[in-house]
């Protein structure tokens, strides 16, 4: 028996594999997991952008992008989303400094800008539908409403999440779990702004140029 375990001189040193479970503190992989979710979300938007790219010129004799899009409105919308991005950044800095009141304040400001963005987008959509340029009018408008609507839906869910998080922060304070949630929403919110860069460039600006 003992001869089995003894290593003869000159033999290779045995290799040990660590088969024990390591310590997994709660949330140690949340950020990576959430990033992977965002990347898969990115693929959904890639499909919708591709569909818009293919159908963007299929007006079916209906109104064209140049006739429909109001760029000043889109510029205001872009400003709202960009402002909400930097105010969320300030909320994250306040969270790093463990200033709960400031976090809640900046989150509220972010929510206001996000809500303004959504209100302007809904106003634009209702205008289009009243002009008879609803999603059923042409392949161009179907793909437009699907792409921009999906982004708007993401912003809506971001706002719901933001409200939930404000309640959680005000009740439990800036505990580790809440800091983690704030970081996830930070990624989500800035990610939506990145998608919006694609939307205002490829849909609105290039649509008007087309």
């Amino acid at each position: 028996m003992s001869t089995m375990t003894q290593t003869p001189p000159g033999a290779e040193t045995p290799v040990f594999y660590d088969l024990d479970e390591h310590e997994h503190p709660p949330g140690h992989s949340t950020m990576l997991g959430f990033w992977l979710y965002l990347m898969s979300d990115c693929l959904i938007f890639a499909m919708l952008f591709a569909a818009y790219g293919v159908y963007g010129g299929s007006y079916a004799g209906g109104p064209t992008a140049r006739e429909l899009f109001e760029l000043p409105l889109v510029a205001v919308n872009t400003t709202m989303l960009l402002l909400s991005s930097i105010t969320y950044g300030f909320a994250m800095i306040s969270a790093d400094e463990r200033k709960q009141g400031a976090v809640l304040g900046w989150l509220a400001v972010t929510a206001l800008f996000g809500a303004a963005f959504l209100a302007i987008e809904l106003y634009e959509f209702s205008n289009l539908i009243h002009e008879g340029a609803g999603p059923q009018r042409s392949a161009f408008l179907s793909s437009f409403f699907t792409l921009v609507g999906t982004h708007g839906l993401h912003v809506t869910f971001g706002l719901v999440w933001l409200g939930t998080l404000m309640v959680q922060v005000s009740r439990r304070g800036l505990v580790d779990a809440n800091l983690r949630r704030l970081q996830c929403l930070s990624l989500f919110w800035h990610f939506l702004d990145v998608i919006w860069i694609g939307v205002f460039t490829f849909v609105y600006l290039l649509g008007v140029l087309r």
Partner: protein, 136 residues
């Protein structure tokens, strides 16, 4: 483990910056970083809108090229200053996932446009000929 869970209370005053962040990896921004990102975004967005709305450049293709280039730069700016992307966070896995996604996005969008453009180009005259002959 207990050090991890209690660090919010015990080490509150000692820390406050990125180096001992419990989630390991994801980088944080600074106030200055957010301002730089914001100002760069404004400087990249405003000319894009101005170019298209004023129509200064007569050639729409050139305008489209400039607008697309501005958007690409702005996406990179957002990635760095708002999403805090770098090659080190999560031991490089976030960057790897991002590169993989970028490749797939490129294939999906450019592939769709390429295939559908050529399909339209090659199929339409034939289809129309068939339809008109069937109509007769």
């Amino acid at each position: 483990m207990s050090a991890e869970t209690h660090h919010g209370h015990a080490a509150d005053h000692a820390h406050g910056h990125d180096h001992d962040d419990p989630h390991g990896g994801a980088a944080h921004g600074s106030r200055k970083g957010y301002w730089i990102g914001f100002l760069l975004s404004v400087l990249l967005t405003a000319p894009a809108f101005a170019l298209v709305m004023s129509g200064v450049i007569a050639d729409p293709r050139l305008t489209a090229g400039i607008v697309m280039a501005l958007a690409m730069v702005q996406i990179v700016v957002h990635m760095i200053y708002f999403l805090h992307m770098n090659t080190k966070s999560e031991a490089g896995w976030t960057m790897l996932a991002l590169i993989f996604t970028a490749i797939i996005v490129f294939i999906v969008i450019s592939g769709s446009l390429w295939v559908m453009y050529h399909m339209n180009l090659n199929m339409m005259p034939q289809m129309q000929a068939e339809m008109s002959s069937a109509g007769m």
